[in-house]
Assembly symmetry: C2
Homo-oligomer: 184 residues x 2
């Protein structure tokens, strides 16, 4: 199946005619310049933001996004494996006509029953502070909830703790502490 | 394959002749009453503590262990699924002659590349404070490290934070916070 077919069969676009899940405010904001007075159908230069759960992401697109976010490079072989064994892979695309650009990403490991842990949340710096990170996360939470997973966890860098708080994530509920073990 | 065959093909026993990985101190401690002056071979009533990565665990054995630890019961259907989709399942058994008893458990979700998260660490209260939880966790860490997973995480209740600290786990390194999202 071509990328586009896959993208749109597994995706949710932020446009009024695909609105099912996301907030009206965001939908309005991100629904692109809709044809005014044009003939029916999608305008050629319409800008849309599309969310997808298709895990088949071009690793170079992803590496470019991670570079832009400032993350240390990781071996593509391992990134491929991590995506393959993630339960959920969410990507966000800016789509203009036939062009698409990867602007957001997150993935989650899970036991598919009780717990999921979200990793590698990235939004292209050019697209930050527009509510897209929030939309990406809400989409991920919604997908995990649809699988009846009730305990969604993550490890947040200090500068994004408040971002996740606003999404309903709690720090150390009942004194539970996130802990890390690294090799010596 | 019978339970016993599987158990011993996927297991590490704490006895001197199977010593590969674990600390001499523990091995000595947990190696059972070894036959003194008896004929060669394993004494019939020898007590051994055996660690296994076989995920095929009797769910009623596991439920009994969780009951003894005081955890709320969970639907066996979901427990089965969670075990199936865990990357690593570690169990600890007390073995006396032909009898075996599940005395410890832990499992980990993982992307098999970068991150693993350990869940459901349980040691039978009758067997606590003997170093077995430490042995179980070291075994789990060793198995994850053998898969080249470098970031091992968990969420620790307040009363076990120091236990995990002694194993080398750090709370909030560089200000990274464990966060939880629960349904309303």
């Amino acid at each position: 199946m071509s990328f586009w077919k896959r993208l749109f069969s597994n995706s949710d676009a932020f446009s009024t005619d695909h609105n099912k899940n996301l907030e009206g405010e965001l939908l309005t904001y991100y629904t692109a310049s809709r044809g005014s007075g044009q003939s029916p159908g999608r305008p050629v230069n319409e800008r849309r933001i599309v969310l997808s759960t298709d895990p088949d992401i071009d690793l170079y697109d992803l590496e470019e996004l991670c570079d832009r976010v400032g993350w240390a490079r990781r071996p593509l072989r391992k990134v491929r494996k991590a995506i393959r064994y993630s339960f959920l892979v969410v990507s966000m695309w800016e789509v203009r006509g036939k062009r698409r650009r990867l602007i957001g990403f997150a993935r989650a490991t899970s036991d598919r029953a009780f717990n999921a842990t979200i990793w590698d949340v990235a939004i292209d710096p050019d697209f930050q502070n527009q509510g897209l990170g929030k939309a990406l996360m809400k989409y991920a939470i919604e997908k995990l909830r649809a699988e009846d997973i009730s305990n969604i966890t993550l490890f947040a860098d200090p500068q994004v703790v408040n971002f996740y708080r606003r999404l309903g994530f709690m720090v150390d509920p009942e004194g539970i502490k996130g802990m890390f073990w690294y090799p010596d």
